[in-house]
Symmetry: D3
Subunit: 255 residues, 6 copies
Amino acid sequence: MRTDQRNRNSLRPVTITPNFLQHPEGSVLIQVGNTKVICNASIEDRVPPFMRGQGKGWITAEYAMLPRATEQRNIRESSKGKVSGRTMEIQRLIGRALRSVVDLDSIGERTVWVDCDVIQADGGTRTASITGAFVAVVLAFESLLRRKVLSKMPITDFLAAISVGVLPDGMEILDLNYEEDSKAHVDMNIVMTGTGEFVEIQGTGEEATFSMKQLNELLQLAEQGIQTIIMKQREVLGDITNRIGESVTAKGESK
Amino acid sequence: MRTDQRNRNSLRPVTITPNFLQHPEGSVLIQVGNTKVICNASIEDRVPPFMRGQGKGWITAEYAMLPRATEQRNIRESSKGKVSGRTMEIQRLIGRALRSVVDLDSIGERTVWVDCDVIQADGGTRTASITGAFVAVVLAFESLLRRKVLSKMPITDFLAAISVGVLPDGMEILDLNYEEDSKAHVDMNIVMTGTGEFVEIQGTGEEATFSMKQLNELLQLAEQGIQTIIMKQREVLGDITNRIGESVTAKGESK
Amino acid sequence: MRTDQRNRNSLRPVTITPNFLQHPEGSVLIQVGNTKVICNASIEDRVPPFMRGQGKGWITAEYAMLPRATEQRNIRESSKGKVSGRTMEIQRLIGRALRSVVDLDSIGERTVWVDCDVIQADGGTRTASITGAFVAVVLAFESLLRRKVLSKMPITDFLAAISVGVLPDGMEILDLNYEEDSKAHVDMNIVMTGTGEFVEIQGTGEEATFSMKQLNELLQLAEQGIQTIIMKQREVLGDITNRIGESVTAKGESK
Amino acid sequence: MRTDQRNRNSLRPVTITPNFLQHPEGSVLIQVGNTKVICNASIEDRVPPFMRGQGKGWITAEYAMLPRATEQRNIRESSKGKVSGRTMEIQRLIGRALRSVVDLDSIGERTVWVDCDVIQADGGTRTASITGAFVAVVLAFESLLRRKVLSKMPITDFLAAISVGVLPDGMEILDLNYEEDSKAHVDMNIVMTGTGEFVEIQGTGEEATFSMKQLNELLQLAEQGIQTIIMKQREVLGDITNRIGESVTAKGESK
Amino acid sequence: MRTDQRNRNSLRPVTITPNFLQHPEGSVLIQVGNTKVICNASIEDRVPPFMRGQGKGWITAEYAMLPRATEQRNIRESSKGKVSGRTMEIQRLIGRALRSVVDLDSIGERTVWVDCDVIQADGGTRTASITGAFVAVVLAFESLLRRKVLSKMPITDFLAAISVGVLPDGMEILDLNYEEDSKAHVDMNIVMTGTGEFVEIQGTGEEATFSMKQLNELLQLAEQGIQTIIMKQREVLGDITNRIGESVTAKGESK
Amino acid sequence: MRTDQRNRNSLRPVTITPNFLQHPEGSVLIQVGNTKVICNASIEDRVPPFMRGQGKGWITAEYAMLPRATEQRNIRESSKGKVSGRTMEIQRLIGRALRSVVDLDSIGERTVWVDCDVIQADGGTRTASITGAFVAVVLAFESLLRRKVLSKMPITDFLAAISVGVLPDGMEILDLNYEEDSKAHVDMNIVMTGTGEFVEIQGTGEEATFSMKQLNELLQLAEQGIQTIIMKQREVLGDITNRIGESVTAKGESK
């Protein structure tokens, strides 16, 4: 039994509120237990310099926490004048994950800016960000479809993420809260698609190691968790769900 | 008539949600029309170096916007590596305003960190921040009272803020939204106490000027608006309202 | 009686030395009591990117102190690698104030850079900067008139600034020196035009408040002080004085 | 067949030159094909502030490239004034990996600074850095043993790293050079111990995904490659090899 | 004949105004032709961390230009957020030069901060800074003598600096103005003491070279110029002149 | 006798390894005693903005040390976020020295980036950098000659540098190692050409001075040392030596 009474393979409650803010093309509030992240997707009608003239688009992500998202107040990165290594690692991960399910060739020279702002943190903020950002990006593209800027949804598959880990007593668990995360010997973040393919595996033993057997156990927990989360995404997206994957052939061919 | 059908002396709807987030000692979501600001107050058990050994406390404020709080996405100040002049001006104003109604001598060597994070902007974000931050600070002190860390509420008076301005046609108006703010010839932010004293007047003509008569008209509009907003603060604070001002004599004397 | 024997409504001696340095288009040394500021105005034949193509000009200001302008040596902002909030606030104020009396439409795509460098500080450095910078800007435009780059003086009115405040004993005073400024309960900076209109009011109670009656008293002191200072500006400018306001109709119409 | 005639499961030649530079406690030049990295380990007799008073040590790593380590010259990070996200990610990885095989409790309040400076890059610089840094750290501890500062080698196991990936034609390969890395659909870095446990798995599909079957194939390639590399480390370390793992019980118990 | 009618071995007029500003312990305005520099010396009663506990003092210098000291306006280094290489080179030179004639052992753990702020530039700003800063430092120590903080003037010798150079036609000249400096093939700055010893020689051919014969000619010009400047320093310092060198034996011995 | 048994006019052993790294157009490892510097020259087919449209080229240099090039580990300048004054001074010196022997008019709008990275330091790193960088630049131009991008070697003369100094006992010495450099009263760096002309003299007394007689002695030591080093350069360059100076007339004329 875990401190919050969950089974080792139980997710915390997941709620996704679409159209959370007024200005962004796509906006979502995602709650995973006590973790709350505002995910906004903004469309800009140009790409960064290194991509100009290729006729294809780009997705980039930024991640931040309110200073008091955590138990102790953190100094703002704007006050420190630089972005921490942890923040950079997370925003690179979010951007990379989203690019794996978007047909960048079909969106023209546009940039999707994804902003994940954690307003309350209780573990799993980076995986909640990916899961929420996916929905925000779909909503942003849907708005381009409605405005006839795009003719086809450029999303090739669903995408969600979850954490798994190994507690000091050796138990493998799904969806670690902050307390569990602090004491875990192994911590792993998995990003998968709706068709069960891996997009990213980041497993790490901090002052510890793990075996192939443990790895397989963890991957299995993650796969089940992600499929459950994707069902939540489908509910929230409703009819839009049907448009996901329509351009999958195009992408397959463009590789 | 104004674009949103208000009279020249009408406020937009004001909603203050107390205890909005879980970790901060005081936390509030304030909405003024479409402007939404999360105001968190954190208590730290020490003061900055320049104040050590004096036995009194300090209040400091930070202000930020989500990149997509606005119609156009803004670059994060953490990415730019520096805080803009506008942000600095606003956070200095918020801190100064709050310090005018807190008896810093009675809170011991503690710092109150006030974080105002604008998640959606439609004009008046600095005045909404002050109004919301006041409630968050009261809630934070209330938690210290409950924990017996303090014995008396160190707040001497209510505090709220509002904007007033002059439209190009010469009409003086209360509580400008973003569209009105963009075209106003004169823009003024007023901070007042529950007893009707001024704490701060910042009036400015951008490429324009204003007369004494206009100034008096604007101050009158602001005073009425602020008294209405303070009634909202009283409702939200409920019983705590009675404790505001109990230490007012102490402060008067300590000056 | 004040520490330097002045009456409550007395200014300190004001001296304005025109053409102080050799290179700038307009250059002034202003002394207000022991406060000394070098004000230089430079003309650049282009505007910042956000204003290009509109056919109008821009005025921007920078403010700094020599490290030992003050009793204690301050660390240079170039060594700290960033400009303080106080500096930003002041330079934004100076630029805004000057823009209110310049017909930006009539100067073409040019930028006026105003540099206010305090070499000795004894209170009132920001208001002395505005008063001196006004003269430097007029001199810079005069040089453009002489070189036939402009055909009309683009200044619509005189402009000067002064501080007023409330001492702990409740006395309202004009033109605070450093010692008075340090202990004042209320500190207010007023910028006005030659025709007696307000351009900027910034009044603030640091850990204190003020009433409408006090406000009115302060505004009256400021108005008298500013009219006296503008007489000094007229003396220094001599014949050029007659050209100020010639384009006032143009500006009135362009609004 | 690969562009450099290797089989899919072949490593490039690995050379490790111990005691490469004169000043560091441990110094190694590692060459993996054309990739060349100088790995230095320095011992400092104190720990960072967040670890003081715990009686245990710390290992931290920094990573950089000479500007012309690559085909195109890169701007120095010191000139840019900030460290890139990629660099931060790599140095966090190197430090974390090394900490997993060092008994930090047994080295007292000391910091091991590991510097990995790539002088020539042809793919796999982060895994070569880990492999070389491990040897440099062992040599640094050996110097502490010789000087009787430590009484037991605090290394619990061997540690090495390698990259694996999937080429566009679907072939899984070991030890990617730069050209292969640029076109690979899946890129994975694996860090393992001498006893075959995982320390870190970082697998990522850039605009692509991978299946469980591919994952297993990649892990198998990596495991074989790492065992071969560890044999190289053993050769270079000679007699010191016998001291690795002597404190393994201590570490197991201290967990 | 030179553009300003000087002979090749003529200095421009040198004026040194002592006690120029009110707050610094030592303050001087130095004018060399049209070059004008404010030199302030401030005494701080502690030394930087790397010198604590040695019982001796330190001298450090900072150098800056007003943005419009030059024909074209320069961007402030505080706005750029960093100090240029040229500025660093100059301030290191000024500090080093002054330290060569101050008996640091006899001033206790004090730092002399020298600030050289160029308000108008016409060539030779770094040498004028050294010449002026020397007088400011003497004045600062004199104030310590008057206040009985020191018992002996800690200055061992006079110190001044001048530039020499080679024009494109091969003529060696003394004290280059800006126009001459811009076209010179060789540029040399010399710092010497009152007894004719060298403190610093910095000679450089920008896209050019120079012979031993030219070097000797340049050194001779410099020596004569510096002796003339030191006579100016003696005049300005009056009676204080007699105290310079009194501690020279102490310093000789402390080496 | 010196600590390493050298005579006062002896150089340490000098070794120059050409074509040290694979990617740069010119690459050299230079060793002077225990000082080791990697010097890379990169050709970029454009010039910095301030030189565009003039049809001539530019040479710029960067200098850095590995953190553990020295006895004590130094913090990386990329971590500190800024380049030190010492580094700036050195890289400005290296660039200036190289430009004096390159006919920039004849290389078209190209930039030569010179990177000097010290991997092991024992005094004289800046002079070793210049000596090694000269060879790297020649090799880079030779590669342009081979590729027919240039038709003539644009190097007008040989170039090398060495340090000289005065020990506390008054002895003048050639080529100071770190220990000697730390205690020297006078430290001088000399850059000369193959024909015996000076390019740069930087002599400085840190808390000391020097006479004309000492200067002449030091210059003589330096001249002999530099001629010996240039013989090493000739050996390494072999046949290429003959092409140095072929464009000397062109440069002489272009001045």
